[in-house]
């Protein structure tokens, strides 16, 4: 892997805005492909800035015709438009009626009744199918979410922080924080967390400017817990994770531990 240099960071804004020279873009992309957590975090951050800039664009009046044009093109692309066009062609039936007379007309009526029944059945099946598709979509989303959390364990930039008991903490406590600076996600796993009556363990993130509660640690009867945190803190300021043993319900203020820390792990 090519070592990270400050000049890589200098290229990130232009990369986000797509206005780097070809050679600069090639150099940064090669560096990113080798996996650089620092640049990934920078690009993610700058991307948020570019999104804010775009989202603030003054809204302009959009001609109503655009919607129909765009969606018609998409339906043709997906083949749905052709199906509807095909169902609007009554001429073959009329020619058959003229050619075969009343008997054929009667047959056509029978056919129409049959077709109507089939059409209703098809409609019901179509609705069932739509419901199944929604279920599949929901399940796919859940799988995607599970994959994203699982990816945290294998991501090259993921940091693993083992928390150690402090002198005032019970020595049997075990806790580990697996933290991805790029997404700020973290998974906390604890064992042997037996909570004394009237107390709660509380998880904290420490930054250069202070601390922030990451919530209470509620272990099961065997003392185990697995906690998913969607935002464990800013990687640029985060310095440590810690656990305190607070009165039931956690520290009243919520911004800083009210009781001594029982575990801490520096990043």
């Amino acid at each position: 892997m090519s070592p990270h240099k400050d000049e890589h960071l200098d290229l990130c804004p232009g990369y986000v805005l797509g206005n780097l020279a070809e050679d600069e873009r090639g150099m940064l992309e090669a560096h990113l492909q080798e996996g650089c957590a620092v640049c990934e975090v920078e690009i993610n951050r700058l991307g948020r800035g570019a999104w804010a800039f775009a989202a603030a664009t003054p809204r302009l009046l959009e001609p109503s015709s655009i919607r129909a044009h765009v969606l018609d093109t998409l339906r043709r692309e997906s083949g749905q438009g052709e199906g509807r066009a095909g169902s609007r062609a009554p001429f073959p039936l009329r020619q058959v009626v003229r050619a075969l007379g009343w008997m054929a007309a009667a047959a056509a009526v029978v056919f129409a009744v049959f077709a109507h029944t089939e059409w209703r059945l098809a409609g019901r099946l179509s609705r069932d199918l739509a419901g199944s598709r929604e279920n599949v979509s929901r399940l796919s989303q859940e799988i995607q979410s599970a994959r994203e959390w699982a990816a945290l364990a294998t991501s090259p930039q993921t940091r693993v922080v083992d928390l150690k008991p402090t002198p005032s903490g019970p020595p049997q406590l075990h806790a580990r924080v697996t933290y991805d600076p790029a997404t700020r996600r973290a998974i906390v796993s604890v064992t042997d967390f037996v909570t004394p009556a009237g107390k709660d363990y509380q998880l904290w993130a420490f930054t250069k400017s202070g601390s922030a509660s990451l919530g209470l640690v509620r272990a099961d009867s065997s003392g185990r817990a697995l906690i998913q945190l969607s935002n464990a803190g800013d990687p640029f300021t985060l310095s440590a994770f810690a656990v305190s043993l607070e009165n039931a319900g956690g520290a009243a203020a919520g911004a800083a531990p009210a009781s001594p820390l029982v575990m801490i792990g520096r990043i």
């Binding site: 200098d10 990130c12 804004p13 232009g14 986000v16 805005l17 797509g18 206005n19 780097l20 020279a21 993610n44 951050r45 700058l46 991307g47 948020r48 800035g49 570019a50 999104w51 804010a52 800039f53 775009a54 989202a55 603030a56 664009t57 003054p58 809204r59 302009l60 009046l61 959009e62 001609p63 015709s65 655009i66 919607r67 044009h69 765009v70 969606l71 093109t73 998409l74 339906r75 692309e77 997906s78 749905q80 598709r133 929604e134 599949v136 979509s137 929901r138 796919s140 989303q141 995607q144 994203e148 990816a151 790029a182 997404t183 700020r184 969607s230 935002n231 800013d234």
Partner: protein, 183 residues
Amino acid sequence: MTDQERDRLCVERMRAGDTRALEELYDRHNGLLYSVVLRIVSVPGGAEEVLQEAWLQIWRGAATYNAARGTVGAWLVTVARNRGMDRIRSEGPGAERAARVDAPHPTEDASANAAHRQMSERVGRALEKLGPQHRQVVELAYFGGLTQGEIAERLNTPPATVKSWTRQALLRLSELVPQEEWT
């Protein structure tokens, strides 16, 4: 369910071939996409063509969306902007594109919602604190498609300064979008 969750579900449905999901995304986001693309290409007819190409690309490329890189809304705007950039880069040199950025804006949509107006005001205030040159470098890059070298030449400023202003502006603006709203 949040807007972001609804958007991600739509992308999943698009991957399964559901065109109604794309219609939902269109109705939620096309107002912004149109505004961004029209700022870039300047001509309403051109904006319509670009949007048609962009939505086709979105439909075909639903599988390429990566939630770890940002919201669905940001992805849609990026696709539309890139199509707009392709269009104007094929039409003229940087100086002409810069002139388009400076052109007066077409009629604004008075019905734009309060959330959008607030975001516009916050972005405007954030850039004001930094200085007019910061807004200018981002506008020339974002809407004009000018390279950093072209911007430096146009502003008669060293390229390193342009890079620095761009970074400062984007970092300040990133503070307006909480991380939890980004993924």
